[in-house]
């Protein structure tokens, strides 16, 4: 089990598991509803100096750099 870091620092292609969201109640809940729930695997498909394309729950999202800093992930060892 690796240490936690913002999603924006997760290298391209790696899979992390969501371990927390540093945001207000509304935003946290919205992210939760979009699939960023605790322990859910998140894969970074494309990093673009802050902005990211991620896969969560079979959905694909583009995240701005601000958003990507709010989502904390643990580096998980599994790799597909």
């Amino acid at each position: 089990m690796g240490s936690s870091m913002p999603l924006s620092l997760l290298p391209e292609g790696k899979i992390g598991r969501v371990c927390g969201i540093n945001a207000g109640k509304k935003l946290s809940r919205r992210l939760f509803e979009m699939g960023f729930a605790p322990d859910v695997p998140v894969q970074v498909q494309r990093g673009n100096c802050g902005a990211l394309v991620v896969l969560v729950n079979g959905m694909k999202y583009a995240l701005g750099r601000g958003m990507a800093f709010k989502i904390m992930v643990r580096d998980s060892q599994e790799n597909e």
Binding site: A23, K25, K26, L27, R29, R30, L31, F32, E33, M34, G35, A37, Q45, R46, N48, C49, G50, A51, V53, N57, G58, M59, K60, Y61, A62, L63, G64, R65, G66, M67, A68, F69, K70
Partner: protein, 672 residues
């Protein structure tokens, strides 16, 4: 059909609401259901689009209301509140949830919330073709058993499954079915306590499903607290909840919901391992660091090229039609006043606006195709880095691009920006993206004064507009609209072949707005120009002694430092009606009418104009207060006269400063 059968159900009306996550094919289903019998309006009080349509099935008249696409029914955004309040307060007979079969898990979250609301839910399991192609299998029967609601397979894009869906609507309507999600003993007893409290209030009991309200209160939903505000039970409920760890409840309930969902998905669907899909492969290229932006620019160029070159023949047809029409009027109407009013005023004026209809429609078609294919969302990602550096987020690039076509829909497109600051900033800079209506002004002026290099001069004007937009975003973003760029998240739907029907309808929705504008505001403006040019009675049309001439002379001192004379002042005033009118007015003032080459000859012969002044005029036209339709839409979208006036004054001040520098600068340097 025998009369008796027809009359059995005739006159019976049903109301059906369509709901679902974004990008699940809800719009396609709505179009497939209602075809062209649609009405687009706004939900009262908010700038969320409301679409309704009607259809007949088995003698029933069914009204379909397209609710905004939402991920859930919390109160996060105006969209969600609109959707939720409609279901609670208007109590539609049936709520159809459109579900993306390729993504059950995420979609079912909304289903659980709908069921909790006590709505009569019917599920349209859409995009089943894609799910099956991918190798997913979904057990519809188990799904119906578990959720206790009917499920119908549809492929809305190809209009498959519609009759079965409508049959199911008739079966579902009028049923009373309450569905519960079990939250476990601890939570259930809390919910029970709140329900007991709430049921004391008979008014609440009649208006809302109490279980739902209790659940929401337990979750700490602000909108739900708003519903009990001021009622005697409010303090009791608050007292009860204050003693509890709310955060714990909230998390616990969400967990329960997710568990229900994953339990269900495991039960009904078999999914193969997710492999790299075609969409992922395409994204590898279209969002790549090196090729992302060049491909984006190339595609934009393609869209604009089609818009302008393919539209030209249609413009010529319209042009000659109006030419013919005004000829008919001038030969058949003997009263000179009436003839001039109809010919110069109405036909000339409205004609000059309808002229751009092919361009506008094509531009919207291109944007619809880009959006429906899924590319536009990627464009926001690709542009994010660039936009971030000027203090805006990636999503803002979409309205700014649309601004090259027409500023009015561009400003409406800022609705996709959630943060008010980002939205306002985008609204303020979008008018500097040179819209299609300003093009004819550049073409005539550059053609007259710059000959061979006209193309480069026009290109320079477009670049200047972009620079001013960037500069303004930085300036305003760090002064009057100080703040952080809001974090953004947007879904990247899988690439799809856009359906011609959806794209065309999409185009028509936006294009008809332009026509409406031509029919109302511009018609009024044109009549005004004509009156001012014809009064007082007996003056030569558009001469110095007419009202228009006096106005020009009155304004001349204001624009004299820019090198503009009274004719230009008049043209600019009327350019406020619509920017293309700048050229139309100059045509009137030079006595050349609509004929471009005559306007050019007239301007070339006028000693008051030279290349520097013409360039200044082009820059002024680019930057000064946008047309009246744009100002109107800015007021509507910002909801504030203060910002509307600011936008108009800011643009006009910049225009004046730029034109002043160009004119005076060239005098000082001795270029003219």
């Amino acid at each position: 059909m025998p009369d008796i059968f027809k009359s059995k159900n005739s006159g019976k009306k049903l109301r059906v609401a369509l709901t679902g996550n974004p990008n699940v094919g809800k719009t396609s289903l709505f179009n497939a259901l209602t075809g062209s019998r649609q009405h687009v309006g706004n939900w009262p009080g908010v700038t969320v689009e409301k679409k309704t349509g009607t259809l007949k099935h088995e003698g029933f008249e069914i009204e379909v209301i397209d609710l905004p696409g939402t991920y859930s029914l919390t109160a996060y955004s105006p969209d969600e509140i609109v959707a939720r309040d409609y279901i609670i307060e208007e109590k539609p007979d049936v709520v159809i949830q459109v579900l993306d079969a390729t993504n059950l898990e995420r979609n079912l979250y909304l289903t659980t919330q709908l069921l909790e609301l006590g709505a009569q839910v019917l599920i349209a399991l859409n995009m089943t073709d894609l799910a099956e192609e991918r190798g997913d299998s979904i057990d519809i029967q188990k799904m119906e058993e578990f959720l206790e609601v009917p499920v119908v397979k549809t492929v809305a894009r190809e209009e498959k499954g519609i009759p079965a869906l409508l049959d199911a609507v008739l079966r579902t309507a009028g049923k009373e079915h309450v569905h519960k999600i079990g939250y476990g003993n601890a939570l259930e007893s809390k919910i029970g306590e709140i329900m007991t409290l709430l049921s004391e209030d008979t008014g609440l009991k009649a208006a809302y499903p109490l279980r739902w309200l209790s659940v929401k209160l337990l979750e700490g939903d602000e909108n739900a607290f708003g519903k009990i505000k001021g009622r005697p039970v409010e303090s009791k409920v608050r007292k009860l909840l204050d003693s509890e760890d709310m955060a714990f409840f909230e998390a616990e309930m969400a967990d329960q919901r997710y568990e229900t969902i994953s339990c269900l998905t495991a039960l009904i669907s078999k999914k193969p391992e997710r492999v790299l899909e075609p969409s992922d492969l395409i994204d590898r290229v279209l969002t790549s660091k090196k090729l992302g932006i060049p491909i984006f620019l190339a595609l934009m160029w393609g869209a604009f090229d089609v818009t302008f070159t393919f539209g030209t023949p249609f413009m010529n047809i319209i042009d000659s039609f109006f030419g013919w029409l005004s000829g008919v009027v001038s030969t058949n109407v003997s009263n000179p006043w009436l003839s001039s009013f109809l010919g110069d005023g109405i036909i000339g004026g409205v004609g000059s606006v309808i002229l751009f209809l092919p361009n506008i429609l094509l531009l919207f078609l291109m944007l619809s195709i880009l959006e429906d294919s899924g590319y536009l969302a990627r464009a926001a990602f690709v542009m994010d880095r660039l936009m971030y550096s000027i203090g805006l987020q990636g999503k803002a690039s979409i309205p700014m691009l649309m601004g090259f076509g027409c500023t009015v829909p561009a400003i409406m497109a800022t609705r996709t920006l959630e943060s008010p600051r980002d939205r306002l900033l985008t609204i303020l800079v979008t008018p500097f993206m040179s819209c299609g209506a300003r093009m004819p002004v550049y073409v005539v002026l550059a053609g007259t004064f710059f000959g061979e290099s006209a193309g480069s001069v026009i290109f320079a004007i477009y670049i200047l507009g972009i620079m001013v937009a960037i500069f303004s975003a930085k300036l305003l973003g760090s002064t009057v609209l100080k703040g952080e760029v809001s974090p953004f998240i947007m879904e990247l739907p899988p690439y799809r072949l856009p359906s011609p029907k959806t794209s065309l309808l999409h185009m028509w929705e936006n294009g008809s707005m332009y026509l409406k504008k031509a029919g109302t505001i511009i018609l009024a403006g044109v009549v005004l120009v004509w009156l001012a040019a014809s009064l007082p009675v007996g003056v030569e049309y558009g001469s110095e002694s007419s009202l228009i001439g006096s106005l020009g002379h009155f304004l001349e001192p204001l624009v004299a430092p820019l090198g503009f004379d009274w004719k230009v002042a008049v043209a600019l005033v009327f350019g406020f009606v619509a920017k293309e009118v700048v050229i139309g007015s100059l045509g009137v003032l030079y006595g050349a009418g609509e004929d471009e080459s005559a306007i050019m000859a007239g301007m070339q012969a006028d000693p008051a104009l030279d290349p520097v002044i013409a360039f200044g005029l082009m820059v002024f036209t680019l930057l000064y207060v946008p047309c009246v339709a744009t100002v109107g839409v800015i007021k509507k979208e910002t909801g504030s006269w203060k910002w509307t006036l600011f936008s108009a004054a800011y643009g006009t001040t910049l225009a004046w400063i730029f034109a002043f520098l160009i004119y005076q600068g060239s005098r000082i340097l001795g270029w003219t």
